[in-house]
Amino acid sequence: MSTTPVPDLSGRRAPPLGGFNATALRLEVRRTLRNRRTVIITMIAPVFLFLILGLNTGDEHVVYGHGNYAAFVMVSLMLYGAVFATSNAGAAVSVERTQGWSRQLRLTPLSSGAYIGMKVVSALVLALGPVVILTVVGLATHRASMPGYLWIVSPLCVWVASPLFAVFGLFVGYLLPPENVIQLLGLILTLLAFAGGLFVPLSLLPGGVQAVAKWTPEFGLNQLVHAPLLGQGVDWTWIVNVIAWLAIFAGGAMWRFGKDTARV
């Protein structure tokens, strides 16, 4: 239309940080916590397992590094709970996809990195539940024993390590429809927990299984979060394991975010 002047676009900017911002982050966290059932299950499941595996063994006097067996099991189950929470928070993207929200977000300046960043932070909030409650239960039941500083350091290590599985959950959530995601995620997490040595020490598994298990994504994390308790240093292959899987999951999630534009 000759009557309309060409609009002045000079004032139009792209948002900083690819659209990552406090308002959207607050709403993401609120959404995650609105899902009461997930919040409760992520807290109950590891506590329940700890009461079975950590307390009724008669092994609590066995020394594991700076602590005892119950402390070792407590840290394992903290990781299990945190991984369960973060991967569930990530996999919720599957529901967003079916509601067309992913496509809607593609019509905003939000970048895939900023989106994944917000998802990771809200997953971290959800993971606080199992980590804190298991620490409290561990203290209250008096079977787990380790030096005072480890009651801070070990839960913190678990919490800081858990985003790997938020990204894993996102990737799985992008690959699978929501009706399959919950069942499959439970199965995959159980297998990965066994392979990572969370439930049973890897040394009890056959040699062939052990060799494969060392390449699975929960193995490196499990070794790292137990390192402060065991006090035997850190093997660089654990770090490589975590970084490699983080790159795979994050790359996969970002790739799917960009592709996921299906109409619903």
Binding site: L9, N21, A22, W101, R103, Q104, L107, P109
Partner: protein, 320 residues
């Protein structure tokens, strides 16, 4: 776009930026299916343009490429002289989709706040909610809103970033007549401030009444591009209606230029690509009275231009 084949320097970008939307030789294949086959479209800032076509004409595919949701197999798409994704990142474009795009567990107000927060510049969420007429349900969960309320919410989300280009994909599907009218009056009021509006629709009347210009697609090709009266004229032919006692269809078919004829009592209807010749003949060679020349409606034009017959022509409008 630096790769448009012209000079590729800053000057060229400035030149293309004078168009809100530009498609040049755009093709899109899905496997062996050619959804869009070489479409050229230019939309100037401030225009309201309808993309009209039957299902499978390539409307949605074209819109998806303008929105950067899919990439053309060949050709160039630019929005304000930028790649579509870049135009979106700069907050220049918003879209209202027909379905989906909403999270059921957020409230109406939260959804607009969330959307607003993703843009570098946005209008206050409360103001936009009020303008969309949904301020009173701001605390309601999206999953509990009616279809009409959800559509108003999508509209609010699209306007919160004050975009230069608003893309609407079948925006009023499922709305009642009153809803459609108030929706379009809001859009028109909004476009009066200079916003460019591009909408896909299969409601012919909507394109006819609300668009400055109509782009008609068929089988992935542009078959017409013009104002609705130009499109009606392109579909060729008008109807000449007259009162003529004792006329027979066989007798009328000899009139030069008559494509099809119809007799209803004393009223005769003659469809023709040359209505002047028919009128002249009727007035000079017969006793015809009360002569009227009627342009075809947009619906007939639409059928003529998008029907499966090989070309535009009056074949689809023969006497019934």
């Amino acid at each position: 776009m630096a790769s448009t084949g012209s000079t590729g320097n800053g000057q060229a970008v400035g030149a293309t930026a004078s168009l809100a939307v530009e498609l040049r030789g755009v093709r899109k294949h899905f496997g062996h299916i050619e959804a869009v086959r070489g479409v050229d479209v230019s939309v100037a800032p401030g225009e309201i343009v309808a993309i009209l076509g039957p299902n499978g004409a390539g409307k949605t595919t074209t819109i998806d490429m303008i929105l950067g949701l899919s990439a053309p197999t060949a050709g160039q798409v630019s929005v304000f002289g930028m790649r579509p994704r870049n135009a979106i990142a700069h907050g220049l474009v918003s879209a209202v989709m027909q379905t989906g795009g909403l999270l059921k567990d957020l409230t109406v107000g939260e959804t607009v706040q969330y959307t607003a927060s993703l843009f570098a510049q946005s209008e206050p969420a409360g103001e936009v909610l009020a303008r969309a007429g949904i301020a009173q349900i701001a605390d309601r969960r999206v999953g509990k809103c009616s279809g009409g309320e959800q559509q108003r919410l999508r509209f609010a989300m699209a306007l919160v970033s004050d975009p230069e280009l608003l893309v609407l994909d079948e925006p009023t599907t499922g709305m009642d007549v009153e809803g459609r009218r108030s929706f379009w009056s809001a859009i028109r009021k909004d476009a009066a401030k200079g916003r460019t509006v591009l909408f896909a629709t299969h409601y012919l009347e909507e394109a006819d009444v609300y668009a400055d210009r109509i782009i008609l697609l068929r089988h992935g090709e542009k078959v017409a591009d013009g104002t609705s009266s130009q499109i009606k004229a392109m579909a060729a032919g008008r109807t000449v209606r007259a009162t003529l006692a004792g006329a027979t269809e066989a007798g009328l078919r000899v009139i030069p230029g008559a494509d099809s004829v119809e007799v209803r009592g004393d009223t005769v209807l003659i469809h023709s690509g040359d209505s002047d010749a028919v009128a002249r003949y009727l007035l000079t060679q017969t006793d015809a009275k009360d002569l009227e020349i009627i342009a075809r409606g947009i619906e007939d034009a639409f059928l003529a231009l998008t029907g499966d017959d090989p070309g535009p022509g009056p074949a689809s409008t023969g006497a019934s």
